[in-house]
Amino acid sequence: MAQSDWGLRQQWVKSCHDWIGPPDKHSNLRPVHFHVPEDESAAEQKLRELRQETQEWNQQFWANQNVTFRKEKEEFIHSRLKAKGLGLRTESGQKATLNAEEMADFYKEFLSKNFQKHMHYNRDWYKRNFAITFFMGRVALERVWNKLRPKQKTSS
């Protein structure tokens, strides 16, 4: 089914589930459109907001990370080629590249430069992931409980 903007929003309105999209071109993360049910409870709302906020936070981190990586990689390649006295293009007109050994220096440097940043991100990600899953469990139990309760009322 072709997905125009309008068609997609129509589908969202009719559906009672979340929708997940294609990977973002900068962050590679898939955005989720969260469905807001009419009878959303406080716990469900809290969960949804946490997931929304985490999604934005993740998006920002990874988009920034990947864009920076690509930029620094290009700069590294340019500077090394310059140092070697080579142009940016080979004779056949293709983009000049460095070999694996030379690129290894860049990868190593990038990893160590961003180490602290990754540590903070890891810690926050684990916390958020646990929190989201915990709240999901709570919401699921709440739903089960609500389904059982009206039956008790009618029987008693």
Binding site: M1, A2, Q3, S4, D5, W6, G7, L8, R9, Q11, S15, H17, D18, W19, I20, G21, P22, P23, D24, S27, N28, L29, R30, P31, V32, H33, N58, W62, Q65, N66, F69, I77, T97, L98, N99, A100, E101, M103, A104, D105, F106, Y107, K108, F110, L111, S112, N114, F115, H118, M119, Y121, N122, W125, Y126, N129, I132, T133, M136, G137, A140
Partner: protein, 408 residues
């Protein structure tokens, strides 16, 4: 003569004329068209329904900018010509059941798996999908969540450990051990994927995992893991022996709570990971004998050593993804000089294997009985293929370096 099919549409989209596309797809199936933009669209694809392959036409999907992202250019007519390709059903084969001789391929299958799935997923890539779990899809999703091929490899090393251990072969014990270990491995792999969602999204090898694609919720993944871990460890503890159960539980902990987080902190993760890989055969041994003796440690030692060339060969090709994703791997932090690695690692790693078979040879010479001959025989079955594998993984790294890797 190749026909060019042009479709124009504006950014604020209306549905393009679908009938034209459908007809064009069938009539011009043999004609190639060029395309100007990066978009690549498949007209037809084979879908898998109830495990049978059926060909369906689906109207082409449009490359739609996510409603969340800023529209970079306001209503601008774009001319796009679409490329059509016949879709080969063979790219959608079901995962093969691994057998003993394909041990080598199973781990690298995870690399290949990524590229096979890409064929299927390229069409899905552009689509928004409803996050609704279909029961039909669940077995496939859970198989990928639990890394079923890797689990099968782990269970086969456990079986090998069981078979190599001294004493009569007890079939029921063997089966309980295999099932218990398999369940424990499924649990550990699921938790690993649960922890690694954003990192997996950013690496080519792992970007088609179920949690990344939203096919399953994190809650369900954790529940599944618990439903595997509890019966798995219980089966090992009470169905086999407590020692094996304890090793299984310890290995789950080691993999999920030590190795997985450590991957992003220090290169020590490789050593921890090697222990994780070495424990299953030891579990097979303890299941058969009920105790940890020299044989168990030697067997564990062999697999521990094997993990290094195996892993280093795998990680060599992934350095860019590891660096960008923030993984601390030796292939990134300690890129070895050109010729050094291939020459010295092989004899070092082969040494424990050669020591073990020498030890068994000596025992056989000394005892000259059925028991020692059986042990020596089984070891010799392993010894040569293992050495060949080691040589192969060491050689591959050298070859990669010599030819120079193409840079993306």
């Amino acid at each position: 003569m190749a026909k060019k099919i042009c479709v124009t549409y504006s950014d604020h989209l209306e549905d393009p004329p679908r009938e034209l596309d459908m007809e064009a797809a069938w009539n011009a199936s043999k004609q190639w068209v060029t395309f100007q933009h990066f978009t690549f669209l498949k007209r037809m694809y084979v879908t898998q329904l109830n495990r049978s392959l059926r060909q369906q036409i689906k109207p082409k999907s449009e490359p739609v900018a996510s409603p969340f992202l800023e529209k970079s250019s306001s209503s601008q007519a774009k001319t796009e010509v679409y490329e059509m390709k016949p879709f080969a059903p063979s790219t959608l084969s079901l995962p093969r059941k691994p057998n003993e001789t394909e041990l080598i391929e199973l781990e690298s299958a995870s690399i290949i798996e990524g590229s096979v799935d890409v064929g299927k997923e390229t069409k899905d890539e552009k689509q928004w999908k409803e996050m609704k779990l279909h029961v039909d899809d669940l077995p496939g999703i859970l198989a990928r969540l639990s890394k079923i091929k890797l689990t099968a490899l782990v269970v086969s090393t456990t079986s090998a450990g069981f078979a190599l251990a001294p004493g009569p072969f007890d079939l029921s014990c063997f089966l309980l051990t295999s099932v218990g270990t398999g369940l424990a491995s499924c649990a550990a792999n699921s938790i690993n994927q649960f922890f690694e969602v954003p990192f997996d999204s950013n690496m080519n090898r792992t970007k088609n995992r179920p949690l990344v694609r939203g096919q399953i919720s994190p809650l369900l993944a954790v529940t599944f893991a618990a439903c595997c871990a509890v019966p798995g460890v219980a089966l090992l503890t009470w169905g086999v022996n407590p020692l094996t159960g304890a090793l299984g539980l310890f290995n789950i902990f080691l993999y999920t709570c030590c190795y997985t987080p450590l991957k992003r902190v220090s290169i020590a993760n490789t050593w921890v990971g090697a222990v994780v890989g070495a424990i299953p055969p030891v579990m097979g041994w303890t299941a058969a004998t009920g105790s940890l003796d020299a044989g168990a440690f030697l067997l564990g030692g062999i697999l521990y050593s094997w993990q290094f060339p195996h892993f280093n060969a795998l990680s060599w090709g992934l350095r860019e993804d590891y660096s960008r994703g923030g993984y601390c791997m030796m292939s990134v932090t300690h890129p070895a000089p050109a010729l050094g690695v291939t020459t010295w690692t092989f004899p070092v790693i082969a040494l424990p294997i050669n020591l073990y078979i020498s030890y068994l040879g000596f025992r056989f010479y000394r005892d000259a009985d059925r028991k020692s001959s059986r042990k020596l025989f089984f070891c010799s079955l392993w010894h040569l293929p293992l050495l060949l594998l080691l040589m192969l993984t060491c050689k591959r790294r050298g070859a990669d370096r010599d030819s120079g890797e193409p840079q993306s």
